[in-house]
Symmetry: C2
Subunit: 316 residues, 2 copies
């Protein structure tokens, strides 16, 4: 019998935070000043009801996400894995929709789920921001009425524009001000890009994890480095600007490939041979510098979920 998708999603949340070193993030060996490992355990348990709603096929995914965030925040007392849930909810829904088909959990299946999102889903998504503080950049002036920090106050604007949750994600995935300028805080939101592009980063990193060897938490740590090296992190850009975000990715890329620094791009081999000792030093440095690549952690969690669905298992 295939494991329950909700159990796999919960385990992905737990393995994400346990994977170490995940430079700049809370992990098995590091707390941040205002965010402890145990809060993540509570948050993962508290998110359960929302994940179950995502799996039930009747509740809208926006509502499932909002319940997940509310339960997470109630247990954790803070925001632990908001972005992880934003990716897990459509993945869980696609898993259940694909059961019994040849399709299974494929990019096309997730894309159908996000294309089915409605204006009500967008309203529920905005409502989720009322449960937690999430660091985000300013929206373009033309979209100020859709600033997520407005929470439920944005509902009339969403309904007037007829903006679905996918439409909202498309705005964040390709913010007008960032196009070509290179110096705006509005770098593309990787999670939003996943939503509108069929989760390419998630499925790619899931293959890195699945084809890797050793404990799953170590594989997750290496996949995190690969994801961070591949593209600047959204949260780092929001907090420190896009230039710092690019430098952070270069520092991650430098420890892929082990003794043979990567030259031909980031592939599974480069990820599998990442130097985790060097990553430990990077982790200490990022914590010292206040660098928190949280969006890359979200992608790692989503990749863990897909890897679990495709047969990856924890090591005894």
């Amino acid at each position: 019998m295939r494991p329950d998708p909700v159990d796999d999603a919960t385990l992905a949340l737990l393995l994400e935070v346990a994977g170490t070193p995940k430079p700049g993030n809370v992990d098995r060996h590091r707390d941040l000043d205002d965010l402890r490992f145990e809060a993540f355990l509570g948050g993962a348990v508290g998110a359960r009801e929302g994940l179950e709603l995502a799996a039930d096929g009747e509740t809208t995914i926006g509502r499932a996400f909002e319940r997940g965030v509310a339960g997470m925040a109630a247990r954790a007392g803070t925001n632990t894995q908001f972005g992880c849930l934003l990716l897990l909810v459509p993945l869980v829904r696609a898993t259940v929709a694909g059961e019994g088909t040849d399709d299974g959990l494929a990019p096309a299946a997730v894309d159908r789920v996000t294309r089915g999102a409605t204006v009500d889903d967008a309203v529920a998504f905005y409502g989720a921001f009322e449960h937690v503080d999430v660091a985000v950049g300013d929206p373009p002036a033309a979209d100020a009425d859709l600033d997520v920090r407005r929470g439920s106050d944005a509902a009339p604007a969403l309904r007037e524009r007829g903006a679905t949750l996918r439409d909202v994600m498309a705005l964040s995935a390709d913010p007008p001000e960032s196009a070509g300028s290179g110096d705006s805080d509005n770098v593309p939101d990787r999670n939003a890009q996943e939503w509108v592009e069929g989760f390419p980063r998630t499925f790619r990193a899931a293959e890195w994890i699945r084809s890797d060897e050793g404990p799953l938490a170590d594989r997750a740590a290496r996949a995190f480095l690969g994801l961070l090296a591949a593209e600047p992190d959204t949260l780092v850009a929001a907090n420190h600007g896009p230039e710092t975000a690019r430098e952070v990715s270069e520092r991650a890329a430098a420890i892929l490939g082990g003794d043979r620094p990567i030259s031909g791009g980031i592939d599974a081999d480069a990820v599998h041979t990442a130097d985790l000792d060097a990553a430990e030093e990077l982790a200490d440095a990022f914590v010292e510098e206040g660098i928190n690549p949280g969006t890359t952690a979200d992608l790692t969690c989503a990749a863990l979920y897909v890897a679990l669905r495709r047969g990856a298992e924890v090591a005894p």
Copy 2:
């Protein structure tokens, strides 16, 4: 709304393994050679179905326990928290039975649950041993037909004797050979004692945790030391003999009370002022010596569950 008992039980499993240092056990900062932290995360997720059966009020507790162990072992690929589940299942059942009453989760309520256990529960309990390897001592010769390692083969003997699960626990709680001899491997099984005595260690340590301050994982680590200091650990006795188990408890007692070593016995104050730095050294020493006080970890998990039911929360 009060949290779901199943969620609290899951969080107790996770906080138990996260609490550090828990000398001699897998914890947030230590793996054992053949047992990894991530296996515990998998085991806690896998145990969910059994815990839900414990909460549903219809399934027998023996069957709920067996399902919990089977799910844990399937996910973890090994035995991670067998003893924790043995304590959590009746606690969860008592929680649900006590809802809406003044009684709530009290020792008397748990005692009613264990007194209601049947011969079928005993048979299911023996069946659980077929899913995992559990270190146990030899039973007295007169009870060789009830050796748990016989698994389901013991069913006819259980039925012939009319032995309920509580009867089986009573045998382990007060093994004849150990009475007064002091050198048998058959020291009392603390988990079995909880079952027949109304969970006194669990409720006592729950109060230590509830009245303590700081992150819950640290409070769990201090409660672990208090429990270990109070009584020799069953698993240590089974693996290394009762004399070593007594020495291990003395070493734990020596780090309670901080700068003022305890004299008048182990109370909440002694536990709350345990020297966790000294416990780190003890943790390294126990791992080196192959000392694994696993039964004390089980009691810590049960105490965490009761503390969560009584309002303890993870720190953000």
